[in-house]
């Protein structure tokens, strides 16, 4: 049980909030041991080091320390684990054919989080997460796919049949005049980005390329 004392005194340097009302406590996502920000600065400024709590041999880094959000350390840890799982397990109900499958999926997530929090079968869980990550990189097909035509925004000609653009922007394109504009607030605030500007200029200039009016006219209009 954490008494009042524990909450206001740093376990490592024993300084307490009575003497230093500004004191902030930090925790890390490895072992969730709490210490004050001064201690974190002192111990980990020159690189990673072991946790000062006796019996805890975790190696900690300064950038992994954060402020505690929830009072209950258990919940804090769980939310962190959940964040990791949810990053890769991010399907929504629409991605499933039936509610049952979706519910099973939700339960799987809970089980994963549960094992991560309690440290059981961690390696198994990590493997699963890794696998899911790999699956995720494949482009996901939208669930309801009518016919073979890829969904495109509406155009008068039944979608852009020439899906590959004929224009390529080189990274090294250098235009001192336009690039300077991005530093000015009134341009950047309204969303100005040089690359977009170039692409649009080029697109508008060569819009008609590869478009043969005769051929378009003779092609039957598909209606979906």
């Amino acid at each position: 049980m954490a008494g009042k004392d524990d909450e206001d005194t740093c376990y490592v340097c024993k300084s307490s909030r009575y003497l230093n009302p500004e004191m902030r406590f930090l925790i890390n996502t490895e072992c969730y041991h709490k210490m004050c920000s001064n201690c974190v600065d002192r111990i980990f400024s020159y690189g990673p080091g072991p946790c000062p709590y006796p019996g805890c041999d975790k190696i900690l880094r300064k950038n992994k320390f954060k402020e505690q959000l929830f009072d209950d350390i258990g919940v804090e840890k769980e939310v962190d684990c959940r964040a990791r799982v949810m990053k890769v397990y991010n399907k929504t109900e629409q991605d499933f054919d039936s509610l049952e499958e979706y519910n099973a999926y939700l339960e799987e997530i809970e089980d994963l989080v549960f094992s991560l929090v309690n440290g059981v079968n961690v390696s198994e869980v990590e493997a699963k997460l890794e696998a899911q990550r790999a699956v995720k990189t494949e482009p996901r097909q939208p669930k309801k796919d009518i016919g073979g035509v890829p969904a495109t925004p509406f155009t008068p000609f039944n979608g852009d049949r020439g899906a590959n653009t004929l224009i390529a922007l080189s990274d090294s394109l250098h235009d001192p005049l336009n690039e300077k504009l991005i530093d000015q607030k009134e341009f950047s605030a309204s969303g100005y980005v040089p690359q977009v500007y170039y692409r649009r200029a080029l697109f508008e200039a060569f819009m008609g390329i590869c478009c043969f009016i005769d051929a378009e006219k003779t092609r039957p209009i598909e209606t979906t």
Partner: protein
């Protein structure tokens, strides 16, 4: 203790104790637990004790066999109670809301939830306990949890079947679609659900740490909740059902420990279900001047129609009636229904038995008003003091005074003290004051009654919207004069009121000022009505504020009709002359036979009337129509007290059965 779990154990040949009072109930048939007649709670209790049968279960079982049930609004409108008490009432019941001038506030209160740090702590404790119980059961009886889990996976729930047969009253806390859909996968297992609750409670705790006022919609609350804790809207909606399911499968008997948790869970369901009509307001400090935070998270319901909707949907005939329900058209708007019959009755009395007057200026012709800018003006305070003194001189026995708020009452009383007003009143009457403490107030009331009875006479200084104005009758000599000091407007700085006004404007097109004025006048009428509680009663009603002159049309018809034009703009001394004359004439012995044929009917009168018009022909027709159409049944509104229509005394009329 008899419970489902204990009985199962006995059936299985195990040891468990049953309550004798409950077991004796089985000697009799379900519908025969008490003899026919009219029963009050006390009578039921004594009867139960004598016959050694549990009165509580007697009532719960018999309720569906009763012809007439009389209970408080909350039993029907508050979903937590209605779920237990009123769920099984048949569709054909006629629901009558009497004294319904305040029904919108009851609706709103029944769905509003206040969460304090204490609630959260207790809820967290409850979750902790629940978790421990689950861990124990896992070891001792893991099959139980497995059974529950499997049932949930298959989406089997009894409530679902019952709902499909349309057997029960709908519950705003349990939206219909929840009962037909399977519980989300991430809370099917008991331990997952526990961690879900823990996360939610911890999140609420972090919200409580904010030190400035926050007012947000449920939508933005959910958004933030999801960002921090990955709790989605959908499982949150199922929370309340899931918890009651868990409590049932764990066979928990000590429900006391989980009351706070239950509150949190209901909050979770409501916040995730209703996007409109609710608002979350976090007030970190109790008052503007407080320095130590004592946060309250108020989940305020703004839409009165949510709580009453199931009633309109379920019952074919709903009647809303009150002596002070005026103006009538505000209620259909606020509660979102259409009336079939809307009727406003004037009072039928043999003599002019009450004298309403509007006093707008003092004897020195200075206008009097409780308007904020001038309410503490010495001349206004003195004029109010004079009214008090003069009326305490001429009023026999009881004299009730209403102020718009405790704050104003306190400030004006202290000024009167220095002006010597109270000393003057003291010569004629005892002075008693209502306080927010209900025990003190009931003591004051007791003394007040005693003083009225023994001839000393007393003044009761009380507050509109207070306990006295809502629930205490000042019949006969307990109240001969009622004085309204100022128009009882609500405190407009309240954040909840502001949110509600905004909601009413945007959704029901009710303007802020209209609502405030309506609300003030219904409370004023409520206060005035306190002194006239029967046909042979009489009293003086004094409305002391300049602003009443313009608002007189918002008074109920029966008061407004009796208010003569010549008496709607008086000065203190003129009103006194009128009142003296009135009281003198009233003090003459009245012949009760004069009333016959006017306000009291004999059987002959009634038969005669029935001959003339076959009791309200439209009413019978509309009831027929109601059978065919599915939705709005006949919702009628009457602007008259039911007490005046029948001569039943509702005190000894709690339950009848046949």
């Amino acid at each position: 203790m008899t419970s489902g779990a204990a009985k199962a154990k006995i059936a299985a040949g195990m040891q468990a104790s049953l309550c004798e009072y409950h077991e004796n109930l089985y000697d009799l048939d379900q519908h025969d637990l008490i003899p026919n007649g009219v029963w009050t709670f006390e009578e039921l209790l004594t009867y139960g004790e004598q016959s050694k049968r549990c009165p509580y279960f007697t009532v719960r079982r018999m309720i569906s066999y009763c012809n007439i049930i009389i209970y408080s609004f909350h039993y029907l409108l508050d979903p937590k109670i209605a779920e237990r008490v009123s769920k099984e009432l048949s569709k054909d019941c006629i629901v009558i809301f009497d004294e319904a001038h305040n029904i919108d506030n009851v609706c709103i209160e029944s769905l509003s939830i206040d969460i304090t740090e204490n609630t959260l702590q207790k809820a967290a404790h409850g979750v902790q306990k629940l978790g421990e119980t689950i861990d124990e059961i896992k070891i001792s009886d893991s099959q139980k949890l497995q059974d529950e889990y499997e049932k949930l996976v298959r989406g089997l729930r009894e409530a679902d079947e019952a709902r499909q047969e349309d057997a029960f009253l709908a519950n705003p806390v349990l939206p219909d679609d929840i009962l037909t859909e399977a519980i989300p996968g991430n809370m099917r297992r008991a331990e997952h659900f526990i961690s879900f609750l823990k996360r939610f409670i911890e999140y609420l705790k972090t919200r409580m740490k904010v030190l400035h006022v926050v007012s947000e919609t449920p939508g933005s609350f959910l958004q933030h909740l999801k960002e921090l804790t990955y709790i989605e809207r959908k499982p949150l909606r199922f929370c309340s059902e899931r918890l009651s399911y868990l409590v049932r499968s764990l066979e928990l008997t000590d429900v006391e420990e989980y009351t706070s948790l239950k509150e949190i869970v209901i909050f979770a369901t409501l916040v995730a279900t209703y996007e409109k009509g609710f608002r979350l307001i976090l007030e970190p400090y109790e008052s503007d001047t407080a320095t130590v935070p004592n946060p309250i998270l108020r989940f305020a319901c703004l839409d009165a129609s949510i709580a009453i909707k199931p009633i309109f949907e379920r019952f074919r005939s709903v009647i809303i009636t009150s002596g002070t329900i005026s103006p009538l058209d505000m209620y259909p708007k606020m509660l979102n229904f259409t009336t079939l019959i809307q009727e406003s009755y004037s009072m039928s009395l043999a003599r002019r038995s009450f004298l309403p007057m509007i006093v707008t200026k003092g004897a020195d012709q200075v206008a009097i008003s409780s308007r904020f800018e001038i309410r503490n003006d010495p001349s206004v305070v003195r004029n109010y003091g004079n009214i008090l003194i003069e009326y305490s001189k001429i009023t026999p026995d009881g004299f009730v005074v209403f102020f718009p708020s405790y704050l104003y009452m306190e400030s004006i009383i202290s000024q009167w003290q220095t002006m010597g007003v109270l000393d003057e009143v003291w010569k004629h009457k005892l002075i008693l004051v209502e306080t927010p403490d209900s025990q003190e107030t009931s003591l004051a009331l007791e003394i007040y009654r005693k003083a009225c009875c023994n001839g000393r006479g007393a003044v009761l200084l009380s507050v509109a919207r207070g306990k006295v104005s809502e629930g205490v009758d000042f019949d006969h000599h307990y109240g001969r004069t009622v004085l309204m000091i100022g128009v009882p407007f609500q405190y407009t700085e309240s954040r909840i009121l502001k949110a509600r006004l905004e909601f009413l404007r945007d959704n029901f097109h009710i303007r802020e000022n209209d609502f405030l004025s309506f609300d003030a006048m219904r409370h004023a009428a409520q206060c005035l009505g306190r002194v006239l509680r029967g046909k042979d009663d009489y009293g003086v009603m004094v409305l002391a504020d300049r602003r009443f002159a313009r608002k007189r049309n918002q008074l109920p018809k029966w008061i407004n009709q009796a208010l003569l034009d010549s008496e709607s703009n008086l000065s203190t001394d003129m009103s006194l002359t009128n009142a003296k004359k009135f009281l003198r004439s009233m003090a003459q012995p009245a012949n009760s036979e004069d009333q016959e044929g006017i306000s009291v009917w004999t059987l002959e009168h009634l038969k005669e009337y029935q001959e003339k018009s076959k009791i309200h022909p439209n009413f019978a027709e509309t009831a027929e129509e109601g059978n065919k159409s599915e939705l709005p049944k006949d919702v009628a509104m009457w602007d008259v007290d039911l007490d005046d229509l029948d001569s039943l005394d509702d005190e000894d009329f709690a339950m009848t059965s046949d």
